[in-house]
Assembly symmetry: D2
Homo-oligomer: 252 residues x 4
C-alpha cells in the first residue's frame, strides 16, 4: 500500500503500472515493485469495474465463501474445515475494505495522482470446504449517471457482458483468456467446481445478476483464487509491463 | 402466508399464536393451523428481534451458507456439493425476503392486527458442504430511537446478550434451552460443527458483532436448521400453545 | 455374463472381442453385443494381467475405496457420505468375484473356448468421499512358474512396469494413452486427486508394490472409474472392434 | 515394545497389566509404565479376540480406512484429503503387523511369559475423509479346533456376539460400555458417522460377517480411534490397574 507501489489487477487498472516510473529504483537500475491484490479483492474489483464504468456506485457489500487453497499449504487443517464453515479469515476483510479503493482509483495520466472512488465496501469473509475458487455474494447500490442509463439488473448485466478493458493491449497479452468476464444465465451458477477452470482460471464468472431489495443489484461472482487471484495476476502484470516498455532488456 | 395463519418462531413472536382463535375451525372443532418459518428465516429473525427491540432497523442484508440437511433426504446429491458451493436454493431468497415481515410484525393485542416493520431484507442464499447448521452473514442498518442509545457494535452486542422473550413463559417451556442466544467473543465463531449443538440445537449462536462500513453493524449468526429451524420450532410452538390454553383436552 | 457375449477390458483381453462372431446377430445383420466390466473389476484385472503373465496366481484379495461417481447421478446422497464411509455397494463384491474369471480367461484361438484362471478373488467394497477414481488395496498370492522368476515385490513391480498388451494394435488405438500402466515410486501414491487424470483417465496407476505378510505381494491400484472403468472402455472396445474388422461399414 | 512393558487393550489382554510388577520402578516407587495400542491395532485385536477364543486363526488381512483425527492436530492438511484417499500412513502398517502379536499373546499366569499367536497379519492402511472412526475390512483364515465348531460365518458371528472378557471385572469398570462389541445385521453397517458414538465410543461395531472366497470369514469393523483407540483405552487401563491393586495410594 506504499504510495508509489501500484496495486494492479491488469484488466482493471493496468494503467497504474506506469506509477513504477516514479519509484527511485526505476531510474537507477530499472528495478521496480508491483503488487497484485488479495485474492478476494481481485474477484471483487473485476466485477465492479464494468459497473463503475457505466453507473455511479454508492456502496458495495460483499460476503465471501473462500477456498482452502487461499490459505496456502499446509494451510487449513482438515479437522477445522470438514463439515464446517469458518466465518473469519485473518486480515481479509480489512484488505477487501481498503485495497479496492487503490485499485479502482482513477489515475490522472499527467500528474499520476490517484483519485479513489467515493463508495465504501463492507466485507464478510468465510472459509468453506472447497479446494479452489472463491465465490462472492455482491450487492451494489447504484445510481444513474447524469444523462446515463438506469441501473436496472438488465442494464447491469449488459454492462458486465459488454465490458472490455479500456486498454485493448491487455486483452492481447499472451496469458489473456478469450473473455475476462463470462455471464451465466442459469439460476445456480457460478459454482467453484464447474466454473473455476473457465479461461484457464483467468475468466471471472458472474451469475444471478438480479434486483436487490435493499441496494440496487446483487450478483454471484466466481474468481479462481490461485490463478486470476494470485500467480496469474502476476504473470499478466509482467506481460503488461513488457508491452508498456517498463522492462529493461538484458544488457540495456 | 394466509392472513389468519400465524407464522411463529416462539421466542420471537409467540404472541402471534393467539391469531389461531380467528380461524374458523378453532371455534368449530378446536383445530387450528400454525406454521413455523423457513429454516434460514428462523435464524435471521431470532438475531433481529433484540436489535428491533432496542433500535430502529432501516435495512437488513443477509448472505446464507446453508447445510445440506436443509434439503431433506436424499436431497443434495454428493456429486453436486463435494468441493463446491451452490449459490442458489430454489425459493429461499423469496421466503427470507417476505417471511420476516410477518414474523416481526407487531400484533395489536386488542384488534389482532399485524403491523409489519418498515425495513426491507435482501437475501443471497448458498448451499455449502456442511451437514447441519446454517451460517448467516448479517448486516443491519440501525438508527437510535428518539432518546435511545446509539447503535454502536457494543450496544448491539449488549442488546443481543441481554435479550429475553417478552413473554417469560416462553423461556420456561419444556424444550426451551438455557439460553435462546449465545454471544461468542472469539473472532472465528460461530462455526457449524462447534456451535450447532448449543442448547441441544435450540440456542442461536452469534459472533463477530462489529462495525459495518456501509450499514451499521454486521455479525455472524448460526442456527441449527433441523432443530430450531424446523422440528424444534414446531415442538416449542405446541408447548406454547398448551401454555396459552389453545389446546383442547381430549374429551373437552 | 452370457456365454457368447465378451466382457472386454481391451488392453487385458481384447482378443475376446472375436467371440462376437459367434453371436447369431453377427452373421444376420452385423450387429453384436460387447460389454465392458464393472468399474472396480476393470482396475483389478488391469493390475492382475501382468502378474498373471509372469507368475502363477494362487489367490487375490481386494479391498476397494470407490468414488461417488460410480453410483451415477444423483447417486449417493450427500447426507450419506459427508464425513463417512459406507462399507457396502450393492452387487459390487459379487461382480468383482465373478467377472475377473471371464475377463482373465485364456481364449483358445481355434475353438474360441474360454479357460478361466484357477485362482479366486475375495472383494470387500467401500464407498468413500471422493468424486472420481477408485482406489484398490490388492494382495496377491503368487508362485514362480516352472523355471520362472521368483515373485518378489521387485519382480512383480518389474513385471508391471514392463507390461504391454500382447496385441500391439491395442496400444495404437486412437484413445490409447501413452502408458496403460504407470508405476509410482513414492510411498503415498496413487491418490485419486493426483492420479485420476493420468493418461486422460486411461492410465491405471499402481504404487506401493511391497511384500505381503500373508500372501506374496500387495499394492495400491488406482483406476478412473468413469473413464477406463466405464465410457473409456467402451470407446476403446469400439476402436478395437474397428481395427479387428468387426464393424460393418455403412452400406456394406 | 519393551519386554516388561505391557501393551494393553483392557478387554482383550487386561491380564497383561500384571507384567508391570516386574518393572524395576514398581518395587522401588510403585511407578510403572503401561502402553495402549495403536488406534488401528486396537480395533483389529478387539475383533480378533473372540475368533481366537473360538477357533484356530491361520492368517489375517486387514485394510484400514482411517479418520483424519488419527493424525492429531493440525495433522492432515485439508488440501491433501478433500476429494481424496491417501493409501499410506507412516509406520502404521508396521505397527499393525507387530503389535497384535504382543497383545494377543497368551500370558502364563505363573511365569509371566508371553506366547504370541502363530498367525500373521497383513495390513494396508489408508487415510480417508472422515473426522472420527476407523473402518477396518478384515479377512480371517480360520480352522476348527480339535473337537470344536466349524468356523462358518454364522459361527464366527455367534462367537463375536456372545463374547465377553474372561475377567468379568473388566466389564464392570467405571468407563466400560454396556457392550464391548455390537453386531449389526444391516448390509451397510458399520459406518463411522452412524456407529462411532456407540457406547460413548467404547463399543466396537462389527457388521457384514460373511464368507470369504479366499480365506474363511470377512467382516467390517468400526472402532472410534480417539476413544477406544486412544484416550479411552488409557482410562480403562488405569481403572483396571486400580481394580487389580496395582495403584499405590497416596501416602502408602
Amino acid at each position: 500500500m506504499a504510495p508509489d507501489v501500484p496495486l494492479v489487477v491488469p484488466q482493471v487498472n493496468g494503467d497504474h503500472l506506469a506509477m513504477v516510473r516514479a519509484q527511485p529504483s526505476f531510474a537507477a537500475t530499472g528495478g521496480f515493485i508491483v503488487t497484485n491484490a488479495n485474492c478476494s479483492t481481485t474477484g471483487l474489483v473485476i466485477a465492479l469495474r464494468p459497473l463503475l464504468d457505466a453507473f455511479t456506485v454508492d456502496a458495495v457489500a460483499v460476503t465471501t465463501l473462500q477456498a482452502i487453497s487461499g490459505a496456502g499449504y499446509p494451510g487449513v487443517a482438515s479437522l477445522d474445515i470438514l463439515d464446517n464453515v469458518i466465518p473469519f479469515i485473518s486480515g481479509e476483510e480489512e484488505k477487501m475494505e481498503t485495497e479496492y479503493a487503490k485499485i479502482l482509483a482513477a489515475r490522472d495520466a499527467r500528474s499520476g495522482a490517484l483519485a479513489p472512488p467515493a463508495f465504501r465496501v463492507s466485507a464478510a469473509c468465510h472459509r468453506v470446504h472447497v479446494r479452489d475458487g472463491h465465490t462472492l455474494a455482491v450487492t451494489v447500490a447504484l445510481r444513474a449517471r447524469p444523462g446515463g442509463a438506469e441501473p436496472t439488473p438488465a442494464a447491469a448485466a449488459a454492462a458486465l457482458a459488454a465490458w472490455a478493458p479500456a486498454d485493448a493491449r491487455v486483452s492481447r497479452l499472451p496469458s489473456a483468456p478469450a473473455a475476462w468476464l463470462e455471464l451465466r444465465a442459469e439460476p445456480n451458477r457460478p459454482q467453484p467446481r464447474l466454473d473455476r477452470d473457465a479461461g484457464g482460471g483467468y475468466t471471472t464468472v458472474i451469475g444471478r445478476v438480479r434486483a436487490d431489495a435493499v441496494h440496487t443489484v446483487k450478483m454471484a461472482v466466481h474468481s479462481h483464487n490461485t490463478i486470476m487471484g494470485a500467480a496469474g495476476s502476476s504473470v499478466l502484470n509482467a506481460e503488461l509491463a513488457a508491452v508498456m516498455g517498463l522492462l529493461k532488456q538484458r544488457g540495456e
